[in-house]
Symmetry: C2
């Protein structure tokens, strides 16, 4: 019975990790044991009750989605000299990769550089009008991407920004961004 209990508990952990919305009753039925056994297992594993689990998921993912949509910059800002240069850092997580190859999806690299380029521009409204980007080598989860963006040229309506993203000192991405500075109701350029 020792091995059986061990197996059930690790399976329970696994099941609740992938689906936290199961009641003790449902779990008891699923495992063919009594509700009390499930409760004891949860106690031993330190897994909170259904309602607490649901509350946790709700709070966490609520906050996560809020921050995702409210986030003006992709990554964390490390340095910013408005109109001159900026540095941001992005840690590559499992939700940024291709499931098959475990390689980071290009648009996340683009997003980090693009949002930094836009943030760099010292104007009330700045929109990306165009970009030329190169993906130098694949990036994998766990890497820390440091993006450095510099203003190269300025005209009345355009700012040219060059960005370089490195991981542990190696360049993984470069981009040239043309940012449109919208004064009033200018129709050119886009975010």
């Amino acid at each position: 019975m020792r091995a059986k209990k061990q197996a059930r508990q690790s399976e329970l952990q696994r099941v609740l990790d992938s689906n936290p919305f199961l009641t003790d009753e449902a779990l008891a039925a699923q495992f063919g044991v009594s509700v009390q056994t499930i409760r004891l297992d949860r106690m031993e594993l330190g897994i909170p009750e259904l309602r607490e689990r649901v509350k946790l998921v709700a709070h966490e993912s609520y906050a996560q989605i809020r921050s995702l949509s409210e986030q003006e910059l992709i990554g964390q800002l490390w340095e910013l000299e408005l109109g001159v240069k900026g540095v941001s850092v992005l840690d590559v997580t499992m939700d940024m990769i291709f499931a098959k190859t475990k390689i980071m999806r290009g648009h996340h690299l683009f997003a980090q550089a693009n949002s930094l380029a836009v943030a760099l521009v010292d104007a009330p409204v700045a929109l990306t009008a165009g970009a030329e980007v190169k993906f130098i080598r694949p990036v994998y989860p766990g890497e820390r991407l440091v993006c450095t963006a510099e203003v190269k040229e300025k005209t009345e309506s355009r700012v040219y920004v060059e960005a370089v993203t490195t991981s542990a000192g190696n360049v993984v991405f470069t981009g040239k961004f043309t940012i449109a500075v919208v004064e009033q109701n200018n129709k050119e350029g886009e975010a």
Copy 2:
């Protein structure tokens, strides 16, 4: 007393919209009425109880986050002729925009086109190596973006894809993508 009730109910709606994690008791205290009054208000407004609200938030945002990270393609695929052309559609929602200007962030447009370009390539592993993109005009929430991507040229290790995104028939974005086809352990190109 009629106006008071109306005001309280619309305020209640607003409060619970922005924070669904409040108990009737907390709400009663906040509004200076009895718990029963809050319950009646909820009934009339069709607002479910705390636990149901939490469950909803949990399920919704859980699913949303899951789908965000599992999604291979940004947008919905409408047509796909592997190695030839593809069409995808993306509805612009509030979480894709700049808070200030309500204009869609560039990387979402990039992501739609880029993921379609990659999906188009008939190879086990395809990674974006480079891209040249133009943002023609600002895009706002509610618009439906139709992205059409076509393979223009093919070499042994590279596929050149051109993408055009339109909204209600007007071009809003164009992009030229160079996709690297990785055969074995080729180190060039990136997603």
